[in-house]
């Protein structure tokens, strides 16, 4: 009897444990990684993780997931290369334990073979109208509130009109090149399920509706344009220099008779000269 109870309990925990572990890894992947990554379904914000164990050693993967930014800061060549390849989008630290990371990595390995074959993404904003763009603008600028009371984009983001004065290629706050860098799929993934800690916090329980995501995508695509850097107009530097020179001359002429030094300057100068 005792044994039966023991076996029962053991089996119960074993089954639960294994299943829970498996379920946990999947949940973790979906909430922590799946927003930017797929397993065998192509690139979103970050690279497709199918077969990632073939590309990097396990130890490296552990370190990278733990904190990719530390790896980049330490100058790890593989990490740097990934950072460059993916438009310098910072991968947020997942803030999970090493055991959990290992379980997620195991989950990825398990599913690498199953999920092979990229699925083509179909755009949801092809038939967008100017009204959609206008709605997106209103939502972005906070003139219209999000249905679920999430904070407006403009609370943290700016820089939609790209000028040559505003030349940060991609900052956390500047969205002017986001669409060009991440593509519709990537931006959409972020909007639907924000991966960044602050943004995630802000939108917990305040998810954007489908229509809102659609309008924002239309707006971001159009206003962000191609993301091409605006070039400084040729001759501007020359114009600036000449203009500054002209102003100096103008004010020199205007204030020519202004008293600029002591009346006794000449006498003092001579006195100082005679001291030496």
């Amino acid at each position: 009897m005792k044994r039966t109870v023991f076996l029962f309990v053991f089996f119960h925990f074993w089954v639960n444990g294994v299943l829970l572990a498996q379920n946990g890894a999947q949940d973790l992947f979906n909430t922590k990684c799946g927003i930017c990554h797929t397993i065998g379904k192509g690139k979103l914000v970050g690279p497709d993780l199918a077969g990632v164990q073939d590309r990097h050693p396990q130890e490296w993967l552990l370190n990278f997931v733990r904190s990719s930014q530390k790896m980049i800061a330490s100058g790890d060549s593989a990490a740097l290369a990934l950072f460059e390849q993916n438009n310098k989008v910072v991968m947020p630290d997942p803030m999970i334990s090493d055991a959990e990371i290992e379980s997620v990595l195991a989950y990825i390995l398990e599913n690498s073979a199953a999920g092979a074959g990229a699925v083509a993404y179909t755009s949801i904003i092809d038939g967008a109208t100017p009204e959609d763009f206008e709605n997106g603008r209103q939502l972005f600028e906070g003139r219209v509130r999000f249905a679920n009371a999430g904070p407006s984009c403009i609370t943290c983001h700016n820089g939609l009109a790209k000028t040559f004065f505003n030349d940060n290629s991609f900052s956390v706050k500047d969205l002017s090149t986001s669409f060009a860098n991440l593509g519709e799929q990537g931006v959409r993934a972020i909007l639907e399920n924000p991966p960044f800690p602050v943004m995630k916090q802000a939108f917990t329980g305040k998810n954007l509706t489908e229509a809102e995501v659609h309008d924002l995508l239309v707006f971001l695509k159009k206003s962000g344009g191609s993301g091409a850097q605006a070039k400084m107009p040729s001759g501007l530097l020359l114009f600036g220099l000449l203009g500054a020179g002209a102003l100096v001359l103008l004010y020199s002429a205007l204030w020519y008779s202004r008293k600029s030094r002591s009346v006794n300057h000449g006498i003092y100068k001579r006195q100082i000269k005679s001291l030496n």
Binding site: K259, S262, N264
Partner: protein
């Protein structure tokens, strides 16, 4: 007619010996304080020279005073529009080097020095920074240095003189100078009052003393720019501007201002003058040629019954009117026509008048090397070994017309360039001398004396009166100070009955009979 009273001063330049006692008296009483060390409310300058602050008369540099444009006058470098445009950076201010960096010596080093091989020295230290400095300038740095290229030859009053005339002035044999003591002119049309954006400066009603209210002053320093005489100074320690107050606490007590009281040469006179305030604007706006005449016209005859009546209507006390009748200023300015304002062309209508100095006597020569002389300018005089130094002249006014200073120079100082006015005054002064020589020595032909007085527009009693007030005047004749009537002023502010009976002896503890 709006009759008002003004304390007016006369400085008799022939009597000034350039001792700077006035400056020291003023410094000791008023400006021996932190932030005020560089100020000399009273200073004495050597003319020809650049003065203090250097070249103060050159309004192209300092932009002071009024200028006439399109028929009306406006402040040159201050005022509403210019003042507002420059309120945070006034470009025309004199800097400390235009005055001088005040200094003292570390005298204690002399006393506390240990025994050494060499004598200890007292190093000069700046009164601004407290650090040792090399002294570069003082408030009377050019004292007695007339003729030097750095000072005398840069005198702004030389601007109308030809290079030949200037050169002749500075020939070693002809060189001469005189002293020009200066205080605030307490002008009738003060530029400092007009320039102040805070309205801190005012002209006292009862005696016309111009004062800066230290509580209202906001240190814009527009008065420093506006005053063409540069007699308003900025105190860097208190952050307020200050100027000569004509020792009004002394005046109110019946004392002469300290500079006047201490004057060794007794060159200074002070008295009340009645003037017509209605005509100030038209006078200040008049053409440069008429400025002096119109300014003197402003001053009213204190014996005229109409003037007395109007003065009483305006609340001027009888004592002030009486003081005006005895005023030495009125005599010098109006009765005798001997005193002229300094730089009337600044249009501030200054109320300090100067009796111009009788120019130094030029010697004539009994023999000249004509061959050499012809090579030189007509004004330059060639001296050779056969000279006889002779200061007498056959021509009555020869010394005036062939003066060592060109009349133009004096005219630039005292009459806005009108040489005739200077000549008139100098003739009078000279006639008085001839008359008095006749009285005391008697070696001049009576006809010559008579002619001199006639041509100068004087008679013998007037000449005697001029001589008496110039040379023999006692304290009470030089300073006729009207009672200030503070008792009336205080009753306007508070009821003196409130404190009646509250002074005198009292008891701290109640007095009790017995032990």
């Amino acid at each position: 007619m709006d009759v008002r009273a003004q304390i007016s001063m006369i400085f008799h330049l022939d009597k000034c010996i350039g001792c700077h006692t006035c400056s020291i008296a003023c410094k000791n009483i008023w400006t021996d304080r932190k932030g005020a060390e560089y100020m000399w409310w009273n200073n004495v300058e050597t003319k020809p020279g650049t003065g203090y602050p250097t070249k103060w008369e050159d309004q192209d540099i300092y932009q002071g005073g009024w200028e006439k444009k399109n028929g009306t006058i406006g402040l040159r470098g201050a005022g509403k529009k210019k003042g507002l445009l420059n309120i945070f950076h006034n470009p025309n201010l004199p800097v400390i080097d235009d005055y001088y960096e005040p200094f003292t010596y570390k005298y204690l080093d002399l006393i506390e020095s240990p025994a050494m091989d060499d004598q200890p020295t007292a190093r000069p230290v700046s009164l601004i920074t407290g650090k040792p400095i090399d002294i570069k300038m003082g408030p009377n740095w050019d004292d007695d240095l007339s003729g030097t290229p750095d000072y005398a030859r840069k005198d702004p009053n030389l601007h109308d003189l030809s290079p030949v005339e200037q050169e002749a002035m500075f020939q070693l044999e002809r060189m001469a100078f005189f002293y020009l003591p200066r205080i605030c002119n307490h002008c009738l049309n003060p530029a400092c009052v007009a320039g102040c954006p805070s309205g801190a400066i005012y002209k006292r009603g009862e005696d016309g003393v111009v004062l800066i209210n230290q509580k209202v002053c906001r240190a814009w320093r527009m008065c420093v720019t506006a005053c063409p005489y540069k007699k308003s100074y900025y105190n860097w320690h208190t952050g307020k501007s200050e100027k000569c107050i004509l020792c009004y606490p002394r005046l109110e007590a019946g004392y002469a201002p300290a500079c006047m009281h201490s004057c060794v040469g007794r060159i200074r006179y002070l008295g009340v003058i009645l003037y017509d305030a209605d005509r100030i604007e038209s006078t200040a706006n008049t053409d440069t040629g008429n400025l002096v005449d119109k300014q003197l016209d402003l001053l009213l005859d204190p014996f005229d019954p109409g003037v007395i009546e109007a003065a009483k209507e305006n609340g001027i006390p009888d004592s002030t009117i009486k003081a005006a009748q005895y005023s030495p200023s009125y005599k010098f300015i109006k009765e005798w026509g001997l005193a002229l304002p300094l730089h009337p062309e600044f249009r501030t209508l200054p109320m300090l008048f100067y009796v111009p100095p009788l120019l130094p006597v030029m010697a004539s020569l009994s023999h000249q090397d004509t061959a050499q002389g012809e090579k030189m300018d007509p004004i330059a005089k060639f001296w050779n070994d056969n000279w006889l130094y002779d200061t007498s002249t056959e021509d009555l006014w020869g010394t005036i017309e062939q003066a060592r200073f060109p009349l133009k120079y004096m005219a630039n100082l005292f009459s806005a360039g009108d040489e005739e006015k200077i000549k008139t005054v100098l003739k009078k002064l000279w006639a008085v001398r001839i008359h008095r020589r006749n009285v005391t020595v008697g070696d001049i032909a009576p006809e010559k004396v008579e002619r001199a007085l006639r041509e100068a527009g004087l008679d013998a009693p007037t000449a005697d009166a001029i001589y008496k007030l110039t040379s023999l005047a006692k304290f009470d004749e030089r300073f006729v100070i009207p009672p200030a009537h503070r008792e009336q002023a205080i009753e306007m502010l508070e009821f003196t009955g409130d404190t009646k009976g509250s002074i005198g002896f009292g008891f701290k503890e109640k007095a009790e009979r017995g032990l």
